[in-house]
């Protein structure tokens, strides 16, 4: 039942035609939300009592950090889907997400570094959260280089899927690093179980910027996955019609 559902709705052809219908909506809604939230956060939210204006980098840093882990989790789900149900689209998605994940992790690391100068007095600290995020960045690069080193795409997809699953162990380490180790990096301000420790005036634009950023990254994933599909299915007749 599940297998039939997945195979029917996750064929590259169906995906390619379906995402085209939604792409413009996702893009315009996301960019509007992001621009509005960023403007709100940068211009209208009051200064932080301790950090002054430097805290405003959260509207880039927090969404990027959240997405860097979420994208890896998405890759892990796609890997399991590919290895169990042999869904080709899942394999295309893994390699489509990897460079975007690396880029987002780089944004998270660099924005964190910039934020570190006024708040911690240093642009880099070998603390658990930052180091584990750096490991995630290297993991993304490793995944890209592993996939690129095989000319046989099917073999590369399988090996990549296994590595993504094994590497997923880093995600809970990143998430819990601030709780497990005494680190310079603050613990999470927003959790599912507790009331946010951040003031609502700062929180709402943060939620908005995270949603907007998430949507924009989805748009990037769509573009990247379309490139992968066109590249990998280039011999199919329907792709010639599509292109």
């Amino acid at each position: 039942m599940i297998k039939k559902f997945i195979h029917q709705f996750a064929s590259p052809k169906t995906y390619l035609f379906q995402v085209n219908k939604f792409y413009n909506y996702i893009f315009y809604i996301s960019i509007s939300i992001y621009v509005l939230s960023i403007t709100w956060g940068l211009l209208f939210v009051p200064e932080d009592f301790v950090q002054g204006n430097s805290f405003r980098i959260i509207y880039l840093h927090v969404p990027a950090s959240f997405l860097s882990q979420s994208l890896y989790a998405a890759m892990a789900i796609a890997s399991v889907t590919y290895l169990i149900w042999r869904v080709k689209l899942a394999a295309y998605l893994i390699i489509a997400i990897a460079p975007i994940g690396a880029m987002v992790t780089f944004i998270a690391l660099s924005s964190g570094s910039i934020w570190g100068i006024p708040t911690w007095g240093t642009w880099w600290q070998w603390d658990a959260r930052i180091t584990s995020t750096l490991i995630l960045f290297i993991m993304y690069l490793g995944l890209i280089s592993l996939h690129g080193s095989f000319s046989n795409y099917e073999k590369a997809d399988k090996l990549l899927s296994w590595l993504v699953i094994v590497g997923f162990v880093n995600i809970p380490i990143i998430k819990k690093s601030v709780d497990w180790w005494s680190t310079l990096h603050q613990s999470a301000s927003i959790t599912l179980t507790n009331k946010p420790s951040i003031d609502p005036s700062m929180l709402y634009p943060l939620i908005g910027s995270t949603i907007g950023f998430f949507g924009l990254i989805i748009c990037l994933v769509i573009i990247s996955s379309k490139v992968q599909i066109i590249k990998r299915e280039s011999t199919k007749s329907w792709i010639k019609d599509y292109v």
């Binding site: 290297i138 592993l146 073999k155 399988k158 090996l159 296994w162």
Partner: protein, 215 residues
């Protein structure tokens, strides 16, 4: 038992494979004091970091050709077809490599730390820590080498070193805990927990990866 003996004899014959990593470890540990002033307190500052990195590098070298020869001569494919549990064969292989390379390196770690630090408990605890960490590293590099079977060990190391870094963090923390005598057994149990998962999971994953290579 027969497989264990066979793998042992195979590795014993390839002296470069088991002696090489041990000698590299030894040389790194000898090279370290040459790079710092020979004041005991200065020597101890970076000693344990060098020790773990030397263990990591040696294990990387140890796993370098664990499957390559068998893959090239086709015996890996034959074994995969013949053996019902390919994963258990891999775990035997890893165990033998650890026995011939990991254990001597752990002993050397103990001897070197005994000669460097005045803290006897610390140098004593280095042995179990080294035994556990060398087994973890070896398993991780075996995974890396399985992924990059015929593509060179650099690629394998590149994709697996990030996974070994959290272990290095825990090792560093455990040294501090031992030095200040704060509940260091927790770190040893954490490493043992990681090892018990890795011992089961890695051979299983490696067997699937090798199957993917041979398909």
């Amino acid at each position: 038992m027969k497989l264990l003996k066979l793998e042992f004899l195979k590795l014993k014959k390839k002296s470069r494979s088991w002696l090489g990593p041990i000698l590299v470890f030894w040389l790194i540990m000898i090279a370290y004091p040459l790079t710092v002033e020979l004041l005991p307190e200065k020597l101890e500052v970076g000693f344990f970091s060098v020790l773990w990195i030397a263990t990591l590098i040696s294990m990387m070298l140890a796993a370098e050709d664990i499957f390559l020869e068998d893959f090239n001569d086709g015996s890996l494919e034959q074994t995969m077809i013949k053996t019902t549990s390919f994963a258990s064969l891999i775990s035997i292989k890893v165990f033998i490599y650890w026995l011939l390379i990991g254990i001597p390196i752990s002993l050397l770690s103990f001897i070197f730390s005994f000669g460097t630090t005045t803290n006897f408990v610390l140098s004593l605890m280095i042995f179990p820590l080294s035994i556990i960490s060398s087994y973890i590293f070896l398993n991780l590099f075996v995974l890396g080498n399985a992924l990059s079977l015929n593509k060179g060990s650099v690629l394998g190391a590149l994709v697996t070193i990030p996974l070994a870094l959290p272990v290095l963090i825990v090792l560093g923390k455990s040294i501090v805990a031992i030095q200040f005598n704060i509940n260091y057994s927790g770190f040893i149990f954490l490493l043992l927990g990681c090892l018990s998962i890795i011992i089961v999971a890695v051979p299983l994953v490696v067997s699937y990866i090798i199957k993917a290579h041979l398909e």
